[in-house]
Subunit: 245 residues, 2 copies
Amino acid sequence: MSSTSSCLVTKLSHYVSLSEADCVRLATLEKAERTFDAGHEVYQGGDENKDLYVVKHGWAFSYTDLPDGRRQIVKIHHPGDIIGFPDVALKHATTTLRTVEDVCLCPFPKSSLDEILRESPKLSALLLSIALRDQVVLIDVLRAMGRMSAQERVSYMLLDLISRLRITNPGITDTIRLPMTQSQIADYLGLTNVYISKTFIRMEEDGYIHRDQNRLQILREDAMIELTDFHDRYADMDTSWFPQD
Amino acid sequence: MSSTSSCLVTKLSHYVSLSEADCVRLATLEKAERTFDAGHEVYQGGDENKDLYVVKHGWAFSYTDLPDGRRQIVKIHHPGDIIGFPDVALKHATTTLRTVEDVCLCPFPKSSLDEILRESPKLSALLLSIALRDQVVLIDVLRAMGRMSAQERVSYMLLDLISRLRITNPGITDTIRLPMTQSQIADYLGLTNVYISKTFIRMEEDGYIHRDQNRLQILREDAMIELTDFHDRYADMDTSWFPQD
DNA sequence: ACCATGCTTTCAACTGGATTGAATTCCGCC
DNA sequence: GGCGGAATTCAATCCAGTTGAAAGCATGGT
């Protein structure tokens, strides 16, 4: 019961069945809670990175700036995500973490990770797999940024978002809440807010999407999948080689 | 002696001191050898991925295509690199591997990785760290692709290349061999071959670089570091938390 | 009800980099 | 030494996306 209320357990159980002991281990990470207002910067690039965070609810994102202010959002975080994982390898945080809306985060020290690595081979394999899978996802984003038009990039982003949201909430059909501003979407896709606006309008006219407030309905998912040659990396994971406990 | 002749051992020893047993374990991965001509495709995206490869000598790269032929090179591989690591998480290869020049690769099965994970905590931590560090590097590339001009992207690429080559060969000062064609560089940076040519010429005129055959000399490394806000992720790794054996 | 604030949309001028095709240089090879 | 194919360079043109500013629209606070 206590374990099923954990976003992290819900998300990771999607990939592999976890022992009761492992569920408890994970749920422990979400013991501490901190809430943050919308638009708050939780930590900055360059800070010493001691903690990781599990997202309990709300959206956040990680970004880097160039010295002249150009901004690149590199990852959008949803409930159940582990924030700051890549930075474990380095001495300092490489990105800044900012909340999109009111958010609840569960901080836990890097050392907890250490403990998992020593005590649960299955969770270790899962963590390594997630790190590697996230590389594949970053490569997909790279492909979008390097070679896709604005409309293709927006389509790719929406498909990726809905795939990720479906992991924890299989009930989602074709409509998602999109709390990010168009400027933030632009900073994620390497475009400008103006052109995001134009692209959304065009996509709505062409019947790909429908917008209502901050809810977005994907009307022609198949067409968008073909347009972007989209692959759902979250559904294609290979857990067959994992050690059993 | 047998261990020091391994590219992989040389590369990984740069990050952490390895026990004799671990050196042997790694050197074993390079037992089998296969050579490939320049421009050869070793495996294709979509193939079942059974093997990983260690690069013994020569350059290669991994790329993905869009259905209409647009191409994105996602990673350039040098001696000592492990090829195909991200795909371990998935059932199928996500990229195609192509050689730049005559290359010698050492294939080894995914299962060898499994063995390392079970038997050497220190190597496991190192592999996880490298996976996470590679995420950070991909994020740096993403930032370049999303927000940098052509000249900044070329500068970033050159700085990244020379940093990586210095890991295994600290003797490198400011000159590198660059066996890739300008079309390949363009496919890596999300530009066109024509514009790469123009950018190189401009950078040479401005005194940033000097070219001679396929050798490239970086004349104003400091200026390029400032231009791109470059961080050497290969030098900044945090191995302090690794388990001892 | 009103203003302040921040987001989206619109407009018009502009430009970095793309495209195309042809010319040139380079280089391995017979 | 000269042939053939690839890589690079050059020049002209074009366009997707930028820039900056202004106008419309929500939302929430007092």
